[in-house]
Amino acid sequence: MAALPPYASTGQKLWYWGFRLICALIFFFLIFPLLIIIPLSFNSLPYFTFTPEMLAFEAGAYSLVNYNDFFTNSDWQNALYNSVRIAPVATLLSVSLGTLAAIGLSQSHVPFRGVIMAVLISPMIVPLIISAAGMYFFYSRIGLQGTYVGVVLAHAALGIPFVIITVTATLVGFDRSLTRASANLGANPVRTFFKVQAPLILPGVISGGLFAFITSFDEVVVVLFVGSAGQKTLPWQMFTGLREQISPTILAVATILVVVSVGLLTTVELLRRRSERLRGMSPQ
């Protein structure tokens, strides 16, 4: 679908623009639900639709009442606190263990590589409800059900496949002669790792970490089962809100989360470009 040639027939022109119109509609479908909640979250009345006053752009129809509720309501603040307490620790666990393992997996001779890889990726493949059920059964046996540690361990396990995938992807393009050169110049393995290898794989590690973070931060199924009221996270609070008493505060929270994901997406994209530039893989 390159540019339309000047000799295109009417049918071809029609198809060319028709196809673009269809694609525009699909893009609209993808992005519209995310955008529509932003203006709705500023509704001064507790409705989930545009009031006539809002459509007339009257100043009084818009207000920060939903945001105010989010920042003052203790339920939401507790949930935010729990999310912030769980996700970074789980991320740290998955990133540190996952990076080590990804370096191990990228060596040239690893016995049972396929099996190990399959096991490490499995938390991403197994449906969340099954992981949640299994963890609920097993963690209640060993006394971790309903504890902070249990939720952190469960979330770390769910984040690991993302770290493994992104870090191994960075290591695939890694030039082994760099470590050999470093060793040749007298650096010991630890120094080689920190001075040569680490800076090169860092973008992969950070984007893996971001994936792990968002996995934990957005996760609701496992925490519903493994956690108890004391570990109620932001998604859990949203889930309860949506299921039981749907309050417009959810729209404010959703808007804040959309802004957060725009930030994350930008970071990951910048990191990916930096990594490709560092390794000389892409000219852009």
């Binding site: 893009f27 995310l34 639709t49 996952g98 990726i121 099954i130 994936f211 299921r243």
Partner: protein
Amino acid sequence: MQRGMMANGENATGLILAADGRPLKQSLARALRLQKLRALALIAPLLIFILVTFAAPIADMLFRSVENSIVPDTLPLTVQALADWDETSGEPPGEAVFVALHQDLLAAVAAKAHTRVGSRLNYEKTGLASLLRKTGRRVKRMAEDGNLAAQFAKIHKDWVNPEIWAVIKRFSGNYTSGYFLNSIDTRLGADGIEAKPENERIYIFLFERTLLLSVAITVACLLIGYPVAFLLATLPMRTSNVLMILVLLPFWTSLLVRTSAWKVLLQQQGVINDTLVFLGLIADDARLAMINNQTGTIIAMTHILLPFMILPLYSVMRTIPPSYMRAARSLGATDWTAFWRVYFPQSVPGIGAGAILVFILAIGYYITPELVGGTSGTFISNRIAYHISSSLNWGLAAALGVILLVVVLLLYWLYDKIIGIDNVKLG
């Protein structure tokens, strides 16, 4: 140490030697072993972590789906005494079994375990829970006068019903197939496996609905994902990178945010219905019911899973050289023939990857069907959650989970065969 080294590094037997005098082969093997050990040492902490936090729970679930030790543990003497009873005789068991039952129940009531064994047996035969509860209340007042059978019969006539005893005997082992049979709408009757009565069948129907809705979602994702991936793959890199943001932003946005957005949009008083009424397309009293039914599940899940279809399709389509289509056209093919006979076959691996990925994700979805599916748009996972947290029938939840897991693993294996797990790309 090898002795008698020759000048060119070979000894008398013709082996090549390394600098330290060992045979080169041995030296190499040693280096390789060290390398393997180092790699494994790096992997080991994570592997142990995953085995404990993730693999063990899955194994526990497998175990729970067949575990039945509650019956032989709570009623050990009864189970033993029942072994001699012939369930085909049509007669209730003899006094010895009732003596054993009396003993077992006394111990069970003291440990408050009789209600739990009652609920376990109730899954197989309704009424056993209340029977055991009722008997448990009176068992202390019974006299061991050699006529326990009659006393039990006085509490409830079911105790002299051979059918009840047959059920207890059938489910007295340490392991049971009962949960799995239950999850495919069958049960272990007197003459082996039999179908449940029509009005109790639910799980086959739920599995079918899960599969059908997942197929519908996959097809919808493919139909609307293919044109977008095609456009992104054929546009110049700069433009497509910008448009890609529109695909990646929903991908990065919280699932709960997207689900709440759909909940808001699809409501009877929601934005879509309001717009349609405003445009005069539907009457105010005939607003469309798009939520809390299958339509809601399909729309919301198609939106949520669409990026998982577009991204693999895009990465395959990027590799198809545009010159092939031009060549086909210059050889006289129409636009459609060039696409269908040349481009489309090369994009099939992407279709396979995307379709399997979307299907695997869809089949195990819980949150979205729970929130927008109502009663007609829920999946088997909603039933699993229900059994864990509401009905507390963990064995059945585990059995349903195992069946779902097997289906997903089969698809995963297929995915690995076609695309390879190493080729999974993110973002």
